[in-house]
């Protein structure tokens, strides 16, 4: 079976063709990423315009890369949420148009489930504790009784929002994680930051306020010294936020007895976070599974692969008229019928 997957929850418009024949293969994947102006966050309408302007080109690329035609596609899957309304609607319109015109089954997919399921497929993890870290999510998940259950999550902003909001305050453009990691590598001077862990949940807003206030107090410094201070704050921000995540992952491993940890989502590209999680999983005699860099961020393959799993296990046929987008679709409300 071949599935065309369409992802459009936030910055990224991506399509992918995935096959479950011959050891599950991503036949093609292409994406267009909306970049807001420096110092600005994502504007949903502007991002959706980027998606509309690039959708046709991205579709053409994935069909060419995979060397297939629409006749070879068995189902069409799209990310139905959670995400930004105008962006979600672009992906849904593309998916519905193809499904309706070419008479293909259509499958709405939860974006977060897509991250987790593609991570499992690509890494070969069996029954992991999952750390999903991105601009839209910060949660620790375990599979139980047909659903991905939330063991711990952020109580306010996500780790991606922490980095983006701090990054924008120093003039970077979203997503800012890469630049913050780059600056953090240039310092080893730790500035005290608040660590907030409540049960298995974390809170990053106090950390953001502290980081922004340090930079603003030093705004009169000259360029070189100011950059040094920014590097110190980036280093301290990463160390603190990642220590909070590592602590909760270790708690999760200890509590559930799980020996596998899978990290997925855009922030899983951060080398320092991976390093800290490697040490934590070693301490618990476990193993860390990392989603490959190319598929850590939002991509159409996560939607296509989950579309295949969902369609095969449920054989559910949704008419195009009954498809939906849900901006606040929580992962723990989705039935996972293909996993025991």
């Amino acid at each position: 079976m071949k599935c065309l997957g369409i992802e459009s929850t936030a910055h990224t418009f991506s399509c992918s063709i995935v096959s479950n024949e011959e050891n599950n293969k991503i036949l093609s994947e292409a994406r267009s990423i909306y970049k807001p102006p420096e110092g600005s966050g994502i504007h949903p309408r502007d991002a959706s315009r980027n998606h509309m302007n690039n959708a046709e080109k991205i579709l053409r690329i994935v069909f060419e890369q995979a060397n297939v035609s629409i006749k070879d596609i068995d189902i069409v899957a799209y990310s139905a949420g959670p995400g930004l309304g105008p962006c979600l609607r672009v992906g849904a319109v593309v998916a519905r148009a193809i499904a309706s015109f070419y008479n293909k089954p259509i499958v709405p997919i939860n974006h977060a489930v897509g991250h987790v399921e593609l991570g499992i497929m690509l890494t070969g993890a069996n029954n992991p504790l999952v750390l999903l870290v991105s601009g839209g999510h910060t949660m620790i998940l375990i599979f139980s009784n047909k659903r991905w259950r939330i063991f711990g999550e952020t109580l306010d902003i996500t780790i991606g929002q922490l980095f983006d909001q701090f990054g924008r305050s120093i003039g970077l453009s979203s997503p800012c994680g890469n630049m913050i990691e780059k600056f953090a590598k240039l310092s080893d001077k730790y500035i005290q930051m608040p660590i907030i862990i409540k049960g298995n949940d974390v809170s990053f807003s106090g950390l953001l306020t502290r980081a922004k206030s340090i930079v603003s107090k030093n705004s009169i410094l000259k360029n070189e010294t100011k950059q040094e201070k920014i590097n110190e704050v980036c280093f301290s921000l990463q160390e603190t936020a990642f220590a909070m995540l590592t602590e909760t992952v270790e708690r999760g491993m200890s509590f559930t007895g799980k020996k596998e940890v899978l990290i997925v989502g855009g922030v899983s590209a951060n080398q320092r976070l991976l390093e800290m999680l490697e040490k934590a999983t070693e301490r618990q005699n476990g193993r860390l599974y990392k989603c490959p860099y190319n598929y850590a961020g939002d991509n159409g393959a996560q939607i296509a692969w989950t579309g295949i799993m969902d369609y095969i296990s449920t054989k559910r046929v949704i008419t195009v008229e009954n498809t939906f987008v849900r901006q606040g679709w929580r992962i723990n409300t989705v039935d996972i019928n293909w996993r025991n």
Binding site: L59, R96, F101, V320
Partner: protein, 85 residues
């Protein structure tokens, strides 16, 4: 102060199959609309008919028409690419 009622009717000749596809692609999102906005879409022969009614919100109407027309253009582009068939 009296209310402003805005009513806009669009009649788009797209072809029978195309207008059915575009209708199916757009209508599922016409949910949870603000109280002062009403959207009706249907097919008549080879045309897609769209009626938008709003009270006291010109900005809502312009944004809605903008999104609807952009989505129609997008859906049309997606299905008119012969390379995929």
């Amino acid at each position: 102060m009296s209310q402003i009622e805005i009513e806009i009717n669009l009649n788009l000749k797209l072809g029978v199959k195309e207008s059915k596809t575009i209708l199916e692609s757009l209508t599922p999102d016409n949910v949870n609309l603000p109280e002062n906005l009403e959207i009706v879409m249907y097919n008549r022969r080879d045309s897609l008919i769209i009626k938008i009614k709003a009270i006291d919100s010109i900005e809502t109407v312009t944004n809605t028409i903008d999104e609807i027309l952009n989505h129609i253009s997008l859906a049309k582009k997606v299905i008119s690419n012969n390379d995929r068939s």
